[in-house]
Symmetry: C2
Amino acid sequence: MMAKTKTDMREAVMTAARATVQSHGYNALSFRELAKEVGIKSASVHYHFPTKGDLGAALARRYTEEGAAYLAEILASSEDATWRMDRYTEIFRSALANDNRMCLCGIMSAELDDLPTEVRTEVDKFAAMNVGWLAKVLSRVRPSASDQDLQEHAMATFAAIEGAQLVARGCRDIGIYDRTIRAYRATGLFP
Amino acid sequence: MMAKTKTDMREAVMTAARATVQSHGYNALSFRELAKEVGIKSASVHYHFPTKGDLGAALARRYTEEGAAYLAEILASSEDATWRMDRYTEIFRSALANDNRMCLCGIMSAELDDLPTEVRTEVDKFAAMNVGWLAKVLSRVRPSASDQDLQEHAMATFAAIEGAQLVARGCRDIGIYDRTIRAYRATGLFP
DNA sequence: ACCTGAACACCGTTCAAGT
DNA sequence: ACCTGAACACCGTTCAAGT
């Protein structure tokens, strides 16, 4: 039997689309441009993703899935909270290092009012997934804290890191991200 | 002599455009839509603002000017750092309270790669203006800190607050903003 | 000085038609 | 099952023309 050499167009479209969104946002996604990149016509892209909202939601869903898998690995690798937070902040750093890109869901949050509801739902799930993970990490450091307090602290940590990425990106200066994360830690916002 | 009753179209366009950007971002700005709102044709909008970049830059420039004026008032009104930070965080809160809007320059940062250079320049100036102000406020609380440290601390504070706004907006829940700001203060990130 | 209509190359989406 | 061309109503921009 032959190996499956045939390019999976659906996958090719998603890969190209994800890069565009992380660099330019959801609004900048163009079916015609995408079609050109993968070598089909724009009407054919609609065969795989009936609307732009379907494509956006699929992107966000996969982004959350992949993120959750990686975060689970981090949890399994070490119990040290500082090490875990090092890995976590590195994720957002590497997006900036990679051509000044942003967290897919962070950039989509900014475009919120333009997003179809399917996409919004997935963006919400990404934030919830991250906050849940952070609360787990923080609970090791603050074993006596209430669930409510941990949730708030985790939300604040997530927001602070997203903000550091947003501002550093705006200034096109990854050093700003590094210094901001250091300042967060110096004040004790997270381990 | 008659009062100047004639509507200043340039001003009308800017007012409508600013509301659109804070709600939907720079990409969502449409000259045709804007023209409809103020009662002229889209070609006439181009008379006042030759390109969309000119309009975006004019919006950001004025936003920074108005912000700087308000922040100067806060500085003049009281020397209390906590009171000053209360007023500062309130600014970002009121954007959310006003129809889930965002900081004009925060939302533009997310769209950075789509922005013409004139607009980017103005977005940078807004961030620098805010960080400068915050450094001044923080210097009262940390009189022995170096300029370098104050600048980093101010940048971290700015990024954290922008992030709180971004995430709360993404979740369409102003309570998240309030709780996040409270958590920042609980850890001592700012007064 | 300010506004307009018409044209240009773009966009997402639909649909009947091809293989 | 997957792709296409043609059409639709949108977009920013340009420009010659009006007052």
